[in-house]
Amino acid sequence: MANKLINQMGLPPSLSHVFSARNILTAKDALSLPETDLMALLDIDIALARSAMASISEATCPPFQTGLALLEEKMKSGGHLSTLLPGLDIALCGGIPFGALTELVGPSGIGKSQFCLKLALLAALPECYGGLNGRVIYIDTESKFSSRRMIEIGEGSFPQIFRLQGLAQKMAGRIIVTRPTSISEFNDSLQQMKLTLLQNEVKLLIVDSIAALVSWDNEKGTISSRQSPLRGSLSFLKSISEFSRVPVVVTNQVRSHSSDDTFHYIFQGHRKDTSNSERSESHLTAALGIQWAHAVTIRLIFEAHSGHRFIKVAKSPISSPVAFPFVVESSGITLLNQEGISVAGSEINAIRCQGCNILTQ
């Protein structure tokens, strides 16, 4: 919509000639300028500039829908990819939602990629078995995708399906793995993704992991500004997920919680510093910063403490903060407790990795 051409908007011909003469061709060029700048640039008076802006705005503005229409649309097209973990599905009102960005964050080795493998399988399964019967695009930046492990998960969770001749091959054939080696390659594949998603009936997009892309760019030392290199791709990812109505699952890494991270507002003063410093030794925090944290719709935190691993629903518009203990078995992730433990307060955002030696498991 932003790149809509001005000469196709039905403005009076004299006016649209003036716009193209000054090289203002798209709605984006025209609307980025204040009215007075436009008036000066195009040499027209203020009333004409205002009415031109109004017509361009009306043409560029997307149509509206009522909340009721939105709900009915969702009811019709289904809205969720069930994870087959009953407790989690209930907490998320059905599963991983379509058209939104779901983030899995946790320390390494905790089970995020296992979860992604299972989701990929679930999306590829035929609908009679609870799947989405579609293709899956798996963007693997750390070379963690193991098809052998995925088949193992499949045989463990759906033994009756996978024993069938050729079905395993068909399922595996629906999962497309791509391994970009730089952010620009990633952005390029995203650009083509819009068409691919629609043409090839892709039902799930997984990016494992997105933090790795940013860390490559850092190594090359090309970051000079404070702004994240993922800016453009982030909103693009969100918009393609919205328009194609596919769920997008993204994995994120953690980094250690330094004392700089105990942020407060100016009006809160500097109380509680001592209690925070005790916690910060064992606490980790999600990589990619607070801007990324705002952008995701659902955040599932994977953490380990007191000898167990937990999946916490940390940020979600429709669920209360709960934590589910889980284990990783041959058939993938299984929840130990379907009810979930309610977590109060800001504890839900903490990521811990202690009391559980990953190497011995």
Binding site: P34, M39, S57, T66, L71, E242, H264, P317, I318, S346
Partner: protein
């Protein structure tokens, strides 16, 4: 005031200056046909120039007979108007109390906070609460929800509307005839149909929709609330030139303020946080910069206070700074003391 400040096109302005008309008084007693001949422009353009001149001079005229400036109102009239104003309840009684009744109409309120604190929840709650019928103490108006991040979930709006209706019927159990007709209007589907939802995917569309709102609001006169969730997202992503960004944001906030006054509605902007280096350490602050922080009338910051969610009024012209705790429940935003069953969200 000089010719250079008139709102006319640059080529006409340069013609005026080259012919020697440098001040307004030189144009005050000239006829349009003479001016058209002098500048070799069309008659209509000359008329426009003179009209621009007369508009500027009358508003700055020194001889105002009765001391009243056109368009101004006295403080007493404003007071009586404000006292009759209804406010939009946030769902939490403590928060309503420190806000002086709720979110004010004719003002722009900014709400910011860290991710996961409940900004979208508050936005959806307000979009539902503005529709509470006048008989039950609400405004009986509709809401425009401009979503830039895709965080609006229709199922959650359904839950919140359901919770709101449940609480109203609980509070007003009367079965008298006047209430019966409003009761019929208290349907969840009606509440959902009263939210006009725009999904915005770039800052261009954000500017376009705010420009278009004037026409939209003239058509849909019962809209009493405009929410933008969030106003920051696209401006942090795609804008490279920060100076231009500040100017565009300034224009946006002016337009929103004008809309709120013209149509007597409340504008609520949800903002994200960022870190700023002040006093030797990093502090949390709302995004979009220092210039933006002046553009809103009121500012509420949602934050964690230990294990509690709190709303802090950082800036308001009419109420003092105060903090109030609130909860996000299955039924929406509620206060700490409200008696509700903390139901599992199913």
């Amino acid at each position: 005031m000089e010719i250079s400040n008139l709102p006319i096109s640059p080529s006409i302005r340069s013609k005026l200056l080259s012919k020697g008309y440098t001040s307004l008084s030189s144009l005050s007693s000239i006829s349009p046909s003479f001016l058209a001949q002098e500048l070799s422009v069309k008659l209509e353009e000359a008329v426009e120039v003179l009209r621009a001149v007369s508009d500027t001079t009358t508003s700055k005229s020194a001889h105002i007979p009765y001391g009243i400036i056109p368009g101004a109102v006295t403080a007493w009239d404003m007071l009586s108007e404000e006292q009759m104003q209804r406010h939009i309840s946030t769902g939490c009684e403590d928060l309503d109390a420190i806000l002086g009744g709720g979110i004010h109409c004719k003002e722009v309120t900014e709400v910011g906070g860290v991710p996961g604190i409940g900004k979208t929840q508050l936005g959806i709650q307000l979009a539902v609460n503005v529709q509470i019928p006048v008989e039950y103490g609400g405004l009986g108006g509709k809401a425009v929800y401009i979503d830039t991040e895709g965080s609006f979930m229709a199922e959650r709006a359904y839950q919140i509307a359901e919770g709101c209706i449940y609480d109203i019927l609980d509070k007003f159990p009367s079965n008298s005839r006047e209430f019966l007709s409003c009761k019929e209007r208290l349907q969840v589907n009606n509440f959902l149909a009263g939210i006009f939802y725009f999904r915005i995917c770039s800052y261009t569309e954000q500017i376009a929709v705010i420009n278009y709102l004037e026409n939209f609001l003239t058509e849909h006169g019962d809209v009493k609330l405009v929410i933008i969730d969030s106003v920051t997202f696209h401006f942090r992503q795609d804008f490279d030139d920060l100076a231009q960004r500040t100017r565009v944001l300034g224009g946006l906030s002016l337009r929103l303020m004008k809309l709120s006054k013209m149509f007597n509605l409340a504008v609520v902007l949800l903002n994200q946080v960022t870190t700023k280096f002040t006093d030797g350490s990093f502090q949390l602050t709302l995004a979009l910069g220092d210039s933006w922080s002046h553009s809103c009338t009121n500012r509420i910051i949602l934050h964690w206070n230990g294990n509690e969610r709190c709303a802090y009024i950082e800036k308001s012209p009419s109420v003092p700074s105060a903090s109030a705790p609130y909860l996000v429940t299955g039924k929406g935003i509620r206060g700490i003391n409200s008696n509700f069953k903390r139901a599992r969200i199913m």
